[in-house]
């Protein structure tokens, strides 16, 4: 359950960043760090795709699988625990890479990116017992 709420929060953060990258929101709310420097750096995109769009897809998938795992019929499923753990590990690895870029390449911090990275680590931690619970046979 915690995982679904963490994924939803991450999804909202990613949607905010994505809206910014499309110019749909004004100046980013950024109490700590320099969000604009990070968001206007070349690392905020992977080719034509904003990094925030990858966040939206990742968190949406995590949220969908965690909600599916709450349904009574999901007990014993092999796909859902695998998707939750796999998604969580990929998400944490990608967040670690983005955090490395902020710390050592761009040398500026974006509070929303840091929040997203923390959410992703918490989501992976929450995914472990969740996956175990769903994976248990009926």
């Amino acid at each position: 359950m915690a995982l679904a709420i963490l994924a939803l929060t991450g999804l909202l953060v990613s949607l905010y960043m994505l809206a910014y990258s499309f110019g749909l929101v004004g100046q980013l709310i950024c109490g700590v760090g320099n969000c604009e420097a990070v968001q206007s750096s070349p690392y905020s995109r992977m080719g034509p795709i904003p990094v925030a769009a990858l966040g939206v897809v990742g968190y949406l998938a995590l949220m969908a699988f965690s909600l599916a795992g709450l349904q009574p019929g999901s007990k014993g499923s092999r796909l859902i625990p695998l998707a939750l753990l796999g998604g969580g590990i990929i998400g944490v690895a990608f967040s670690a890479y983005l955090t490395y870029l902020e710390a050592f390449v761009i040398r500026a911090w974006c509070q929303w990116c840091v929040i997203s990275a923390i959410l992703m680590v918490l989501a992976l931690l929450a995914a472990i017992p969740e996956a175990k619970r769903i994976g248990e046979s009926k």
Binding site: L8, T9, L12, G23, V25, G26, A37, S40, L70
Partner: protein, 243 residues
């Protein structure tokens, strides 16, 4: 856990989940609506905090680049939309530069805004933002040239925003998206950072043209004429060939 307990805890979960979703969507919606109803940023953002940090300034200053990223020579131009020599450079000299060096992959053009008069009344800051908004739709250079072609007209207009929107239509922009960008503070930070960087580099006027080898030092040219730029590029190319 009994079925009743499970049902109760699921109900509680869905209530928390719904509340988080509602608050989040509400906050996001508020941001979107206030932006849509927003007013355009027409002057510099205060970047005093980063003024002395050249490294951070370089990261924040965002140029518009044309040409092969692997090109051996960089031609860096600092321009202002109210400067008539910048118009001459863009409309008369740049096409020759593009034909001979940019499209052939020998050099790439790196454009930074350097708004000489950043007051809202002058409109140059808004023009710089407008060009970048056009860039969101892949029409930066078309819009950039359009601004220079009508430089005298919009400079005299009181409704500069209206003129800029009209130019957007002329170059085939999606009007709604362009207006939304224009009527916001989008790119205010980038244009301001470019301005700060130009000042930090000690540039006195526009167009300022610097030419250098990729990864090396650039030198400032005495003027913006194609022949001068060509000589500087050829020198670098022949030095590279000799090495």
């Amino acid at each position: 856990m009994s079925e009743r307990q499970a049902g109760g805890s699921l109900r509680g979960f869905y209530m928390v989940f719904g509340a988080v979703a509602l608050i989040g969507i509400g906050a996001l919606g508020y941001n979107l609506v206030s932006k849509a109803m927003g007013t355009p940023a027409t002057t510099l953002v205060n970047l005093e905090e980063v003024r002395d940090d050249m490294r951070l300034l370089r990261d924040m200053a965002v140029p518009v680049v044309k040409g092969d990223p692997e090109a051996p020579v960089m031609v860096v131009v600092f321009g202002d939309y109210l400067c008539n020599h910048c118009g001459e450079f863009s409309l008369r000299e740049r096409p020759r530069l593009e034909e001979e060096y940019i499209s052939t992959g020998k050099a790439r053009l790196i454009f930074y805004d350097f708004v000489l008069d950043p007051t809202p009344e002058a409109g140059a800051f808004l023009a710089a933002r407008a060009a970048r908004c056009a860039g969101d739709q892949g029409r930066f250079w078309e819009y950039h040239d359009r601004l220079y072609r009508s430089q005298i007209t919009w400079a005299m207009e009181s409704d500069k925003l209206g003129s800029f929107e009209e130019y957007g239509e002329d170059v085939g922009l999606d009007g709604r998206e362009f207006k939304a960008c224009l009527n916001s503070d989008r790119y205010a930070q980038e244009v301001s950072a470019n301005w700060e960087m130009a000042r930090a580099l000690g540039l006195g006027g526009t167009p300022a043209v610097l030419v250098g080898a990729e990864g090396g030092m650039s030198r400032s040219l005495p003027n913006y004429y194609f022949e001068t730029i060509k000589r500087a590029i050829e020198e670098i190319l022949s030095e590279a060939a000799a090495n």
